[in-house]
């Protein structure tokens, strides 16, 4: 290292052989971003406390016995980090394979699809996933599990929870990234309606005693939907359109506007298909909302679709 002590309390690391300097308090992931090294990650989201649970962002750190998570590990002066070693690639590939073998990732983002290809993940490495099972994970007792069915491999498949008109919870798509729990809790909403329940492979996101959302503390802000990386949490409007095959991203446009309800001025991103609003969200890079909304902003747009003119045009059709 030509720069053993960096200025301003920051840290200079060597990443894949090249020096990178980051400010104090940065993580290895910040350094990787600064060095333009793409790092796959699923549980990490800017603005939420890193839980380093998915282990997709692991890197090799010289002197460390195991790989370390880039998202939460603080960058320290002199760290030597590898992101393309055999060990890193192996671990990332296996993490992808383990997730794909157990979770429904059919709503893959382009990112995940690219990582799967890059790391050469084999989707059926461990055998064929069971067809959508009707396992009731909510009833599992910690420390025990149902006997294996011959020829099947375990998956988290479970019936979709539809217990209200605003959003659905399809935990067959849940990778337990903890983002929804954090967004519902101290990182954003401070409502604490959901938590991780159960243990091990039977761990799941749940309300107390699995009560329906409308009986729980849930205020239907939908900020959990905003942070869900796999589509496990989804507005009912989108879910219903997908069910009948009407959800068509090619026909959609996203328009940024300001929420009309109160004086805060939250930014809204309205997804519009066939001239109708089909979904509302908020940009995470907006400094007022940080991606968060309330029930009105997120779900209270149906009236726009049913103004007199629209009703009129609807009747003509």
């Amino acid at each position: 290292m030509t720069n053993p002590i960096s200025l301003h309390g920051g840290a200079t690391l060597t990443i894949n052989g090249f020096p990178v300097t980051v400010s104090q308090g940065s993580t290895i992931l910040d350094a990787l971003n600064a060095a333009s090294v793409e790092t796959p990650r699923l549980c990490f989201l800017e603005g939420l406390t890193p839980v380093n649970a998915c282990r997709l962002c692991v890197v090799e750190l010289e002197g460390a016995r195991t790989l370390v998570p880039a998202c939460s590990r603080r960058a320290e002066q002199g760290m030597v980090v590898l992101t393309d070693s055999v060990r890193v690639k192996h671990a990332r590939k296996l993490v992808l394979e383990l997730l794909l073998s157990s979770v429904d990732l059919s709503l893959l983002t382009a990112d995940i699809a690219r990582w799967i290809e890059f790391y050469g993940a084999d989707l059926e490495r461990f055998g064929k996933k069971a067809a959508r099972a009707e396992t009731n994970h909510d009833a599992c007792r910690a420390g025990s599990h149902e006997a294996l069915k011959p020829g099947e491999i375990g998956s988290v498949a479970t019936p979709v929870k539809i217990d209200n008109d605003l959003f659905v919870r399809d935990y067959s798509k849940c990778i337990l990234c903890y983002r929804c729990v954090e967004a519902c809790g101290a990182d954003a909403q401070n409502t604490f309606a959901i938590a991780v329940a159960g243990r091990g492979f039977e761990a799941r996101i749940s309300t107390e005693f699995v009560i329906p959302l409308n009986e729980s503390a849930c205020v239907f802000c939908g900020n959990c939907i905003g942070v869900c990386p796999t589509g496990a949490l989804m507005p009912k409007s989108e879910f219903d359109m997908r069910e009948v095959g009407n959800w068509c991203e090619e026909k959609q446009a996203v328009t940024r506007t300001v929420c009309p309800y109160c004086g805060v001025g939250c930014n809204l991103e309205l997804t519009v298909q066939d001239d109708r609003i089909v979904k509302a969200s908020s940009p995470r890079d907006h400094d007022i909302t940080n991606g968060n909304l309330c029930i009105k902003g997120r779900f209270g747009w149906e009236y726009v679709n049913s103004t007199p003119e629209r009703r009129g045009s609807g009747e003509k059709e």
């Binding site: 282990r55 296996l94 383990l98 157990s102 461990f126 025990s144 938590a195 243990r199 492979f201 749940s206």
Partner: protein, 535 residues
């Protein structure tokens, strides 16, 4: 606490019942040590004569479950029995008829099991760790004082906190829980930390299958645990201690609670202990059925009333421990070593150095041995010596293999008995001593059955936080099931296993996921369990 979080915590622990309450619940250990002593037959009997596992029988309002290791391996088959309205108890050498009777008649009280004992040869000897515990049981603080109790604490008060740290440093004591970290480094870091409060935590959550030494120490020598924790508090300026005892050890918890009460009334806990400026008190915290809580950061979360999910390290507990404060956390056996170190000096303690360790340590002999129990041995003892002390296998059946270090340890072959049980000896043999488990399997044992149980153990005990362990342990269990089926492509399964094991070892958050494949891997590599040997 929000209800959803409370539910999240409660549903994490196996012994917190969230379904209809039972008048009595019987947990039968069907883990590997008890499997060598007839646990499978007992479970079959219960299924036939009482009903299916985990199903509450309406007439008696009782149920039974299979349980992971209950730490009563020297007297298995072990049973943990909860009865509504009374304290839970454990049952040693359980028999099917007795269990069925207890399940059908929850109104009948369960008799208290006999005290833990030692294999005879160690009685009345001057072993550094077991001398007091091996005396005939005369409970109470006076008996403890008579047996040399508080000499170490008095010495500590004479030489001051720096003196204690100097003795500990000279002793080169390392942790006995499994990781073998130098104890003085933890104590020194907390002693030098800034700000109060700070904490001393005793890890009494011993749950590694085949380990039962800490249970016996807590049951038979509870005042020593308290004295050692008090010394730790003195050395690190901590005024508050917690001792975390697994739920499956009700007798140990009772002994410790009683000893704490007596210590308080005799001024040995509380303020101005021994008329010195020393304030220290201890609270007991009970586990609720979770192996993972033996991992130190999971244990800290559990004390805080959270799910027992391990934290990411760094930061380490000495910097950011219980309630975010500097914390010393040591296992029961580690703490007990502090007493001889202070009584006889750290240099004297270190004279026993051999193979990278100082001081005697306790080994838990179980499985196919004539006299199972805990054995204290000086550094350098070999596997053969320990097994010989335990009387060898019954009827001198040839030893097939020995599991060293517990479910997170390794199997060695019956012809590898010369391994020296020191860190270096173990390392050169490619194994680790872990928590001191020596579980012997003779040629009558169905090893496939044992390996399957180990795979199930880790699947059931994974906390579920990280993907490699949460899903990996499931895939390993499935793989092992397939492996033992006729017509399996065993070489392909071993290749897949090795890929899984590498990722779990490298990318899991904590020691559970990192070590969950080691014992199984050793059955492939050392026991050569592969296509050629399985028919």
């Amino acid at each position: 606490m929000p209800p959803a979080e409370a539910y999240g915590v409660a549903s994490f622990y196996a012994l917190i019942n969230l379904q209809s309450p039972c008048r009595r619940t019987v947990h039968v250990c069907d883990d590997i040590a008890c499997r060598t002593r007839g646990a499978d037959a007992i479970c079959n009997d219960l299924e036939e004569q009482f009903g299916a596992e985990g199903v509450r029988r309406e007439d008696s309002a009782t149920a039974w479950h299979r349980s992971p290791c209950l730490g009563l391996c020297e007297r298995g088959t072990a049973v943990f029995c909860e009865t509504a309205g009374s304290e839970p108890v454990t049952i040693a050498d359980a028999a099917s008829q007795n269990l069925v009777h207890l399940l059908l008649h929850p109104e009948i009280p369960v008799p208290r099991r006999a005290e833990s004992t030692f294999p005879g040869e160690q009685l009345g000897t001057s072993l550094p760790l077991l001398s007091r515990a091996a005396m005939p049981p005369t409970p109470g603080i006076d008996a403890y004082r008579f047996a040399g109790g508080y000499l170490a604490l008095r010495r500590a008060l004479q030489i001051g906190p720096e003196g204690v740290l100097a003795e500990l440093t000279a002793s080169r004591l390392t942790g006995r829980g499994g990781a073998g970290f130098p104890t003085w480094m933890k104590w020194k870091a907390v002693a030098e930390a800034v700000g109060n409060p700070r904490y001393v935590v005793c890890n009494g959550d011993e749950s590694e299958p085949g380990t039962f030494k800490d249970r016996i120490l807590m049951e038979l020598d509870p005042f020593a645990v308290i004295e050692a924790m008090t010394i730790a508090g003195f050395a690190t300026s901590a005024e508050h201690g917690f001792i975390y005892i697994r739920a499956e050890y009700p007798e140990a918890a009772e002994a410790i609670e009683l000893a704490i009460k007596q210590s308080r009334s005799h001024g040995m806990l509380g303020s101005d202990i021994l008329n010195h400026d020393l304030n220290f008190d201890i609270e007991v915290r009970r586990g609720a059925g979770a192996y993972i809580c033996g991992e130190e950061t999971a244990l800290l979360n559990s004390i805080e009333g959270k799910r027992g999910e391990p934290r990411t390290k760094p930061p380490f507990p000495v910097q950011h421990g219980l309630f975010g404060r500097p914390t010393v956390i040591n296992s029961v056996e580690t703490l007990l070593n502090v007493l001889p170190i202070l009584m006889y000096g750290g240099d004297t303690f270190a004279e026993s150095a051999r193979g990278g360790v100082t001081g005697s340590r306790l080994f838990c002999l179980s499985g196919c041995v004539s006299m199972p129990g805990i054995y204290e041995a000086q550094p350098g003892a070999t596997l053969r010596e320990l097994i010989d002390r335990a009387g060898g296998t019954p009827d001198n059946t040839p030893i097939h293999s020995v599991l060293v270090g517990g479910a997170a340890g390794s199997f060695v072959r019956g012809d590898e008995m010369d391994i020296e049980l020191t860190p270096e000896g173990a390392r050169s043999a490619g194994i680790s001593i872990g928590s001191g488990v020596i579980m012997v399997f003779d040629e009558t044992i169905d090893m496939a059955n044992i390996v399957k149980r180990i795979a199930r153990f880790f699947r059931d005990e994974s906390c579920g936080q990280c993907v490699p362990c949460r899903v990996g342990t499931v895939r390993v269990e499935e793989l092992i099931e397939r492996f033992f089926k006729p017509g399996a492509d065993r070489d392909a399964e071993i290749a897949l296993f090795n890929d899984l094991a590498l990722a779990m070892k490298d990318a899991s958050i904590c020691g559970l996921g990192q070590t969950a494949t080691i014992a199984i891997a050793s059955t492939f590599s050392r026991l050569r369990m592969n296509s050629a040997t399985i028919t």
